[in-house]
Subunit: 337 residues, 4 copies
Amino acid sequence: MIITFKYDTPKQEIENLSKELVNQGFGINYLPGEKLNIMGIVGDTSKVDIKRIKAIDWVKDVTRIQAPYKLANRMFHQEDTIVDVSGIKIGGNKIVVIAGPCSVEGQEILDEIAVDVAKSGAVMLRGGAYKPRSSPYAFQGMQTKGIECLTNSSIKTGLPIVSELMSIDKIDEFVKYVDVIQIGARNMQNFDLLKVVGKTKKPILLKRGLANTIEEWIMSAEYIMAEGNPNVILCERGIRTFEKYTRNTLDLTVIPIIKERTHLPIIIDPSHATGDYKYVEAVSLAAIAAGADGLMIEVHNNPECAFSDGDQSLKPERFDTLMTKARAIANVVGREI
Amino acid sequence: MIITFKYDTPKQEIENLSKELVNQGFGINYLPGEKLNIMGIVGDTSKVDIKRIKAIDWVKDVTRIQAPYKLANRMFHQEDTIVDVSGIKIGGNKIVVIAGPCSVEGQEILDEIAVDVAKSGAVMLRGGAYKPRSSPYAFQGMQTKGIECLTNSSIKTGLPIVSELMSIDKIDEFVKYVDVIQIGARNMQNFDLLKVVGKTKKPILLKRGLANTIEEWIMSAEYIMAEGNPNVILCERGIRTFEKYTRNTLDLTVIPIIKERTHLPIIIDPSHATGDYKYVEAVSLAAIAAGADGLMIEVHNNPECAFSDGDQSLKPERFDTLMTKARAIANVVGREI
Amino acid sequence: MIITFKYDTPKQEIENLSKELVNQGFGINYLPGEKLNIMGIVGDTSKVDIKRIKAIDWVKDVTRIQAPYKLANRMFHQEDTIVDVSGIKIGGNKIVVIAGPCSVEGQEILDEIAVDVAKSGAVMLRGGAYKPRSSPYAFQGMQTKGIECLTNSSIKTGLPIVSELMSIDKIDEFVKYVDVIQIGARNMQNFDLLKVVGKTKKPILLKRGLANTIEEWIMSAEYIMAEGNPNVILCERGIRTFEKYTRNTLDLTVIPIIKERTHLPIIIDPSHATGDYKYVEAVSLAAIAAGADGLMIEVHNNPECAFSDGDQSLKPERFDTLMTKARAIANVVGREI
Amino acid sequence: MIITFKYDTPKQEIENLSKELVNQGFGINYLPGEKLNIMGIVGDTSKVDIKRIKAIDWVKDVTRIQAPYKLANRMFHQEDTIVDVSGIKIGGNKIVVIAGPCSVEGQEILDEIAVDVAKSGAVMLRGGAYKPRSSPYAFQGMQTKGIECLTNSSIKTGLPIVSELMSIDKIDEFVKYVDVIQIGARNMQNFDLLKVVGKTKKPILLKRGLANTIEEWIMSAEYIMAEGNPNVILCERGIRTFEKYTRNTLDLTVIPIIKERTHLPIIIDPSHATGDYKYVEAVSLAAIAAGADGLMIEVHNNPECAFSDGDQSLKPERFDTLMTKARAIANVVGREI
């Protein structure tokens, strides 16, 4: 960590802070300049509160050199983390495709979709039982009934299920019935929720927040890991920008960045990222070419009647075409689907 | 609501949708064009799911004309809402200033700050007992102890208290002890939390999310109101942009927009918006000149030792100067502090 | 185009506007609603000034249904445009790779790089002779000397050259010596520059602006085409967002969108998009998988000594590896490099 | 400047760079850490190319401590710069209001507006003769005829004129006839244009770019100043964000920031910032309360017929009301209009 002092800072002020930091166990190296004075702090600075130091009148700026995350940091954990979901490995050589409707809408329709996506090669079933909707007047999900439908479909098809947990009071239900607990974009910094899922051993699919930096996203993974749960899967789903032709702007550069900085698996959700089924195939192939460990895709056999996000759902035939192409790309980059 | 169809849409398709909408009670007006065909939907379209219609292959675009909020909409509720907090009116002629430390750190220090800010003219005390921190290693707040400190300070000074609720399992504590329940920026779309506070009659201070549009923010107010609680105070605290010299970008234009579109009071948090105590005074005065109903400002008597956000806290003397100037501006725009 | 009037708009006002528009040759369809009144305008509305209509007191909103571009619009020009650069076709089945240093720094070094990239499969040479730099103290390019070096390298290797034109007074030099004239991101809305290159018949590589929407980008292509030059190649190079781990956020979804809405070729610049050579390969492969017509990549044989953008330049060996992988992906998506 | 090396960097590598920098006249202070090694560079680093150093394989990061601007930097120039426009001082105690139509549309209408705004207290006349329009089909300005109209109005009313220069080939016309040369947001990084106006002694009104950081904006001022022209007036006009209810997001915090970091005057353009006449008054008053040195406001006596930006233009009566209120706020903050 680097502290920059104003050039007219009294020596006494610098010495005071220096002593305080040495007492906390840090090494100090002081570097007076022409117009500014610089102090380097050596040691594990991940727990130092930058804002407290910035509040000192003589301090001009504070710069963190080390990343503020440790458990998720590849620097301290070289091998890739592979998350095991009932025998399916996420983060290994095989690319994992999760598919299903945005919302669970009923048993029959869910079963049909599950059978369809499994036939095309999906290995997990997604479906929202509790739905975060920006309008209180929109369909809020089938809730417990929806979890039951997912469980039934899972039994019939053998596909493990992924569903979003929105509130801490449903944690027991999710631990019991859901294979991968999803934390949605809007809850990426719902820290109480992160702590609660961190106390389980369940695989957690952590979506990137609408307007969160990669660093904040990794810090939210760190929250889960700090509670004792190492089974975190990161999921990019697009960020909010000024562009209006797409629902969000998909940031695929996160793939090599996450691989470089962390040891966690990273998957891509092209449906929420683009918000339009017509663009889903192109960016899905792109994600695999860029090294993604998986995809999570919305599929619906009758999108016009979907209770939510119908405009971004693929029909099963289109999903099947996508899978064929995805498989070919995966082979070229030395992986399988 | 306007639906645009591709120009080669079969008549039958358009008639089908038309019939369906008429059956739902809407009026329809069809408008064939040269290259596009347009259908206007007349009636209360706030509950129509746009995405479902967009999923129809022949549909090119759907545009909502009416705002999707009703209870918060000034169109249906002309008079200003005035929220009463133990006799203090928010949204009336008097501008309300809320001040206090970012985090509650102990009884003594809180009492001192409370006395100081009250002396300068603050009429409510803010303080975080539960703290949303991006790092799991940062101070997470004094929690229940913090709420106790706030209650004690409130008794001593007579100032009602504002504190942030982060999780639904603390709702009883907040209803019992806290005068204004704050929903933080990161929880603006934590819909379960919104529903829970909507079921109380407590005044709710709803912060705008980091990257949420004004419309989404009003929709979150609508969530609270739809549960039966009309006591919503909106609070702008800056949005996330590419700019790096400030913590967030304060959007003061929201003041006339909120006044035009809704009947709810709007206050400004200059501390989180700028992230730097040096800029707090300038933007506080600006907020009052633009018509804000209040300010929420971080004050600490020893910012260098603050447990959080020390860099954006004012010392009591600076706060006092600010209040003197703010009072003068308020008078010029026909209001009082 | 749809005009929404306030519900209490006097009939006379609506009739006046209606008449004016009919006189201008538009068809009108009026649709009174409960709370709002809607008017649909039928005809070629691309030249109607929305803001002028919005200025009418009774008008609540105006929505454009038709895209504001015509020459670039696929609706009016179904076949793909293929731009010919000295026999190299951009926009056809073959994917075109352009490579070279950020800045031209001298003849010898440029020749070396040109030979290297040609060996690996690049078919055009890029290099900046005039450099847009945010600091007046940074290297501003070799200018005319740089263009000479490019021309010499082109003669030796047979590679056509791409270079950025920053100012209208250099147009003759560029028309004479440069094969593809690049309009940089910062000049995407330098309309005088667009008009000047529109008056030539040269292929124009039009970069997307830092913070420009896809629609504005297409409108800038329209500027060039409206002057008579149909040879426009679009180039995405990342947009500005809040994310700080990358120089820009690369928006690959533009590829299917540009293909859907326009008939112009689209290439990707992964070097400026990511700002870090370590991420260039991953996103280059992604771009090809998503359907890009080409790549423009910075290559330098000694990035540590590059006069500009050394951190995002690939060494020739890394570029060679990238090309091998890119070729494999291209084959899978039915194309060649 | 701080360079961070990877922890396993060979000593020889660090020594080599160290020597090179010492040879360039910098002081070096080396600081080995546990996981990272840090090197501090002391001296005037404003001309060091960060990216070149980042390109070194062993370098993890480079952080600039000193601001990259010098001539605009208050650190080296304590007193406020006051720009003199025919006797009108911008940056002093008096707040300067510039008003007029978006585009010049004819002599008579311009004269009327000029007389009206002068009566209300505006001291300069604005009007676009050359117009940057995103559509090639939109009105492009009266051009030289427009400059003539402005000159005539100026003679009649005594108001100096402000107009936007879009292209270097019109510089002579502007130097001869225009009192303040405006560089528009889209040209903030048109470096050739900046250099050309930097070679004159004219007052330059430099608008902040749509998506440019404050630092880049100051660097563009530095471009002008580095050519010898110290007469730069900065103008904030809103930045591009995800918000859709306003044309741009006005960033008023720039006022105290510009005052702290530079010695240049700063004015606000509420018309382009909000894009809606209804919000102009509120944010104008806010700007003055926050310490702005001036306002630039669009006024039109018949906005419905304005050739451009009618929706954001004030009618003269509304402008007059605004001025009365603005004067009262100015007095409270110790200034005059």
